[in-house]
Amino acid sequence: MSKDKKGLSRRDFLKTTGIATGALIGGGVLGSLITQNATKDDVAGTGKNEAGGGEYVGEVFRGRMFFTNENEFKVLSEAVERIFPEDELGPGAIGLGVPYFIDNQLAGNYGSNAKEYMQGPFFAGESTQGYQSRLTRAEIFRSGIAKMDEEAKKRYDTGFAALEGDQKDEIITAFQKNEINMKGVASEFYFKLLRQATLEGAYADPIYNGNINMEGWKMKGFPGHQMAYIKEIETDKYMNIKPKSISSMEH
């Protein structure tokens, strides 16, 4: 099952995400400005750009706000792809932009635990008491990624990103089972964060830079932002509705 991932080079990865970003739309000021100059005819029926509710706004500048090191980002990307892999249903985490989603989130309130109680003293506590680390999510991700790489080198003498699929799975499983020693946080907790963030990136509105072109929603059959279902709610028929991003409200 890992063969198809074997030869995935960094260039391939960038190419994949590059194709996807070409179709991505941002909302906000840039989106609105450019949209004003686009005629409706340019937009309707092109199918080029569905993330913004069907309006083309031109080039999108996707980038990293958090990870500065190429390898860290690569380890993250390879790990989330194992959690949510590409298959016949559609793109995996990389194709959906999940690594960028996580990177961008780590650079903001999510990463700095802005709404969490972070005062000491800190004690490990029981599992029923939840998150008790003094580390922020940004710190946990950084140290978890380093630890994954370290574990790969220890077991296979090479970095995590270069491992075979089942070797990567073995290491992720070790984190999940809390078999890895991490400083300041349980490896199981890091795994849970990583898994949850992967699903968030796959299925959050595309305004957050994941779920590229709403491919996550299309696979799942979730129509995203729709104003109302009052006309359809009583039907017996399953409705396959073309999804819309919340950013379509801004055009």
Binding site: R82, I83, F84, P85, D87, L89, N109, Y110, N113, A114, K115, E116, Y117, M118, Q119, P121, F123, G125, E126, S127, T128, Q129, G130, Y131, Q132, D169, I172, Q176, R195, T198, L199, E200, Y203, A204, D205, I207, G216, W217, M219, K220, G221, F222, P223, G224, H225, Q226, M227, A228, Y229, I230, E232, I233, E234, T235, D236, Y238, M239, I246, M249, E250
Partner: protein, 570 residues
């Protein structure tokens, strides 16, 4: 330096449903009222872009900022209590409207049985049905006494429903608006439960079936079934909330003001009366004393209890001796249920927070408990609230949590999964209580509230019995595979369960066993009222807001009465 402000008639701490109801009723009666709210102002206009699962349902946009204040938690007195560092088990609200902004809108009246639970249980099953560790007590008010206030709250909110529940208390009037639509998913439940001999009916809903003008002249719009209710605000003004009903009603009188970004840290007291509240302007850091003739605590269960504790009002409950009432009888709920996987795809993403059908045959004492080793039960419902993709990844029990099999199964089952769930009542236990934490403080230097809680034998037995019933219903509904809920063990504060916390500031007929009387007036400080689900001496098998709303109208009546002739209202 604390700056003293001009005195007002009434000050409420927190402006959600309860602050709004008290504010509206007292302001209409000509009293000057100030509502003090730690959060910000917000309205329907802020929810135009609310269909964003990540921001609202996952990152909790509308919820309390825990970096400023949280609670600490332990399962038992033997454990070290530690802060709830991130929100999980329940979601605390903040800002205008409070939890009334992001609720689903299930609006129930607790059963007549609930209000007299101790007397009725003893009469029918003997005094030893539950051990002495369970602090079961009557509420000091009957359903019939509370009926006019239920009626009033339902009319204010425009509740949509049908009077077809054979177990419900008697109603003076029908529901203000007809029930919501009956969808194919609801019909599956209706048929299955009917075939099993139960009596299904449409869930009473605060997402309105049609546009409605309430007695105060406020209009609530008709629900559009967009599927974004719980954890979200309503962009249509179709989910009844304080900020579209009671708060504008209060403001319209000219006697009402809401002060935002103001965090109350102490209820001030001289002799046996309160003189007002001390609060901190969270933007400037300045401290103010707001004098008032009457102080009403209308914040959430946790904060109401905490303010009494840090202000030294009332005797703290001591689990060792059983003495004291403040913090006693904290209760939660258990959630028996079953999930079913179907062959056919269903429009699960459409819905509304309160779109559902319920049976009450297994709630309260609506069935015989002579041969059972627990009391009470749960309302059992199917709801079609709008299933969203980050939170909903249903997979059969033997599926891995990640990887290719997980992806396939979670995508396949997303639109093929239904659940039947119960809201299991929870009985008060001597070891479950609220107190003050000795170590951790909030950002203003005030101690955090400490929660000591675990599920008890009664909870586990109730949960097991009703989970089996839920699985039977799901099977009857035609599920290909039925997955019954796991048995409950220790209470875990991490996964979301329910924001139906109760107790700690309970009501009753005597100062010996309760904090407030049946007007929610404090037994020791007669010009202090404490209102909320904290008043419940036990937790029933429903969502609390309907009963809490009724209690708030009762309290408002008491406050107006008190303002004319001081003294105890009972």
């Amino acid at each position: 330096m604390v700056k003293t402000l001009d005195k007002v008639d009434v000050v409420t701490v927190g402006v959600g449903w309860l602050g709004g109801i008290i504010g509206a009723e007292c302001a209409k009666a000509g009293m000057k009222v100030v509502g003090i709210e730690r959060g910000k102002e917000r309205s329907t206009a802020d929810y135009l872009r609310v269909h964003d699962e990540y921001r609202y349902a996952i990152r909790y946009e509308l919820m309390q900022d825990l970096s400023k204040e949280t609670i600490t938690f332990r399962n038992s007195r033997k454990m070290r209590a530690l802060p709830m560092r991130q929100m999980g088990s329940f979601l605390l609200g903040e800002g205008l409207g409070g939890s009334g902004t992001h609720w689903n809108g299930h609006t129930w009246r607790f059963l007549p049985y609930d209000f007299n639970i101790k007397t009725l249980t003893d009469e029918k099953y003997g005094k030893d049905k539950l051990s002495a560790d369970y602090l079961l007590q009557d509420w000091g008010i009957t359903y019939d006494e509370l009926e006019p206030y239920f009626d009033k709250f339902e009319k204010t909110a425009g509740i949509s429903g049908e009077d077809k529940n054979p177990f419900a208390g008697k109603r003076a009037n029908g529901f203000p608006t007809p029930p919501m639509v009956k969808t194919p998913i609801l019909k599956k439940f209706e048929k299955a439960t009917s075939d099993l001999g139960y009596t299904p009916f449409m869930l009473p809903s605060a997402n309105l079936s049609e546009s409605y003008k309430n007695p105060d002249g406020q209009t609530i719009a008709a629900c559009q079934y967009c599927g974004f209710c719980e954890r979200f605000g309503c962009e249509y003004g179709a989910k009844t909330s304080p900020e579209i009903t009671v708060i504008p009603t209060a403001l319209k009188t000219g006697n009402y003001e809401v002060r935002f970004h103001a965090n109350v840290v102490e209820v001030m007291k001289e002799g046996n009366k309160t003189t007002g509240v001390r609060y901190i302007d969270t933007q400037s850091g300045e401290e103010f004393f707001q004098p008032a003739d009457v102080v009403v605590l209308t914040s959430y269960v946790m904060n109401n209890a905490k303010l009494l504790m840090v202000s030294g009002i009332g005797e703290m409950y001591d689990p060792e001796t059983g003495k004291g009432t403040l913090g006693k009888n904290y209760a939660y709920q258990v959630l028996p249920g079953a999930t079913g996987f179907f062959d056919e795809q269903m429009n699960v993403f459409m819905g509304a927070g309160s779109l559902g059908m319920t049976i009450d045959d297994l709630n309260g004492d609506n069935y015989d408990h002579s041969e059972l080793d627990f009391i009470h039960g749960a309302s059992m419902s199917i709801t079609q609230t709008g299933v969203r993709p980050i939170q909903s990844n249903p997979v059969p029990a033997d599926t891995p949590a990640w990887g290719p099999e997980f992806k396939k199964a979670s995508i396949h089952n997303y639109s093929r999964t239904l659940s039947v769930g119960g809201q299991g009542a929870s009985m008060p236990h001597k070891e479950n209580f609220l107190s003050l934490d000795p170590d951790y403080k909030d950002v203003y230097g005030v101690p955090l509230l400490q929660l000591t809680y675990n599920f008890t034998e009664q909870d586990r037995k109730l949960h097991k019995y009703l989970t089996e019933k839920a699985a039977t219903i799901m099977k009857e509904m035609g599920a290909k595979t039925v997955m019954a809920g796991n048995p409950i063990s220790d209470y875990d504060i991490v996964p979301y369960q329910t924001t139906h916390n109760t107790g700690g500031t309970i009501m009753g007929a005597s100062p010996e066993n309760s904090v407030v009387n049946n007007f929610l007036q404090h037994w020791e400080v007669e010009n202090l009222f404490v209102v909320g689900a904290g008043n419940f001496p036990h937790n029933g098998g429903y969502n609390p807001t309907g009963t809490v709303g009724a209690l708030a109208y009762r309290a408002a009546e008491g406050i107006i009465k008190y303002s004319k002739a001081e003294g105890s209202l009972v």
